[in-house]
Symmetry: C2
Subunit: 354 residues, 2 copies
Amino acid sequence: MKLKVLVVAGDGIGPEVTGEAVRVLRTVAELGGYDFEFREALIGGVAIKQHGLPLPSSTLDAALESDAVLLGAVGGNEFNSLPPDRRPEAGLLQLRQSLGGYANLRPSFAWPALASNSPLKAEVVDGADILFVRELLGGLYFGEPRSWDREAGSAWNTMRYTRDEVIRVARVAFELAGARRKKVTSVDKANVLEVSQLWRATVTELASQYPDITLEHQYVDACAMHLMNTPRNFDVVLTENLFGDILSDEAAVITGSLGMLPSATLGGTVNLYEPVHGSAPDIAGKGLANPLGAILTAAMVLRHSAKLEQDAQAVETAVRKVLEQGYRTADLARGQSKMGVTTQEMGKHVHQAL
Amino acid sequence: MKLKVLVVAGDGIGPEVTGEAVRVLRTVAELGGYDFEFREALIGGVAIKQHGLPLPSSTLDAALESDAVLLGAVGGNEFNSLPPDRRPEAGLLQLRQSLGGYANLRPSFAWPALASNSPLKAEVVDGADILFVRELLGGLYFGEPRSWDREAGSAWNTMRYTRDEVIRVARVAFELAGARRKKVTSVDKANVLEVSQLWRATVTELASQYPDITLEHQYVDACAMHLMNTPRNFDVVLTENLFGDILSDEAAVITGSLGMLPSATLGGTVNLYEPVHGSAPDIAGKGLANPLGAILTAAMVLRHSAKLEQDAQAVETAVRKVLEQGYRTADLARGQSKMGVTTQEMGKHVHQAL
Ligand SMILES: CC(C)[C@H](C(=O)O)[C@@H](O)C(=O)O
Ligand SMILES: CC(C)[C@H](C(=O)O)[C@@H](O)C(=O)O
């Protein structure tokens, strides 16, 4: 087994957390006798500072030559006044677009050891296990026309989808549901938006090819509520780009911390892996960041790019163990008398549990 | 005091809940010696059935001649396959647009008697008191161009805002915050969307006119999470139409039930009042609906249209009392051994508490 991984650590806590994720991948490679090769490249704010661009072409070339791209996080307060197309986030969006992955998988899982960390009651989150399939290349993120006309004092973005874009991502959702609890909840705003009507009609049509899957539709406003009231009622949640952005962050409260959430983006030339959390500039470089989101993202690299399902599960089990042993980074320590650890210590404990 | 109220009960549970709200308003008028006049008109699915249109011109005329419009809810499953512009919801959107109110106020309040109803832990919601100011006439709801081209298999909507649209709604938020805890959280997606950059720049600029108000900005994805983790950190939440739709429904879990939430839309020719919940066709006509959202909406009619602040508070106090007495409609009864009541009984208890 040979795998070339490009690590684009990015800004803020990105380098710290991807550092621990890479350490875990190296351990897995050693134990399994696999040949994993790691290269590094710049993205986001650090790339702007060194190259004037959030996605230098050297980074993109290296990404396209790799088997998997592992990203940390991008963004920093100093760039807040720049227009969207010159910000660190633009580098991430360009990378997503260039790699071509359209199905962003975001599992949100109630780790038993973290039940008391959630603002939700334990009896509400117990056993919740949701997989968001967020469309990642369409909608308001990429729709044209888009502009801010400062003189006219007016700005606009376009939420656009084609039938083919909906079919390809819906197919991923149905197929993943088939290996899970066989239910897809498709989320839209079809009572108001034409683009959602296309979405709903297309998903409904495709569902006939998956007779063993139960398809249900929810409006995005209702879904935002149901996710909190009855998280166990969800299996796979399929939705467009921005709705997926909002709902998957919201669902982080099921897990107890955004710092726990991994993601994988499939369907393109090269798969892209990124923890769901942001660059958190306020805590960067202090050893306060939770590396488990990045480490669980590494597990997704093993599952989806290396096709090493057993090793992926071994990493997930190691994470469960360190949580059960009581190790907690700052974001997880809320009101608990547990063993506080730094980013690096948490990484080391996972490494040992492996 | 003279007040002409047009009641557009609409579909599903609309007639039941507005019935109780009107009963409460009649009681207030009687007790205070006010002259409230009620007229009724059709909107939504019932209007489509009788007139072929979700907002007949007779309804619109009556609305424009009134001092306040009290709406129940619109929508029904039988209309789900119609395009957006021919659905019951189109009647509501046309009414909103014609009345011209752009500032939709949605309070989300943790009623102490309902603390155990929330999926959130009591210590998380205790004391939470959020006022959403949702822009109601812009964004994806009304932006042009919009279309679903079935032949090309492509659809699009436009999220558009002008500076003036942002200023007028932001002003409402700053002014309301001045009479509350003096904090405005403005929610956008300025790291990706140009329209959000206009939003953020405009709100920031306007804030200089309100030096005693603290302005904070959050991205909509982060906000969806923070609302659940730390609801007490919010005072006034200012946001655009669709983000407000999603976040205010999500924040219903703070209250324990969507059935508790009122709303008022200000700034236009005639103020529009509607509970936040939908038409809930599955429980319509069964006495299962919670009328308290509509009754609290009636309190907002008293506050904002009749300028009867004391009477508005009397209604809110009456609602608090019946909740403390233990009366619960089905949506509020979750796992509690409380006194279950029907829609009408709940209305009667509020009436008596007045
Ligand atoms: C950083 C930002 C552009 C990004 C997004 O909105 O997609 C982030 O919020 C995410 O969810 O991955
Ligand atoms: C019924 C629907 C059009 C409406 C909206 O999206 O505004 C509703 O969800 C609301 O929040 O009032």
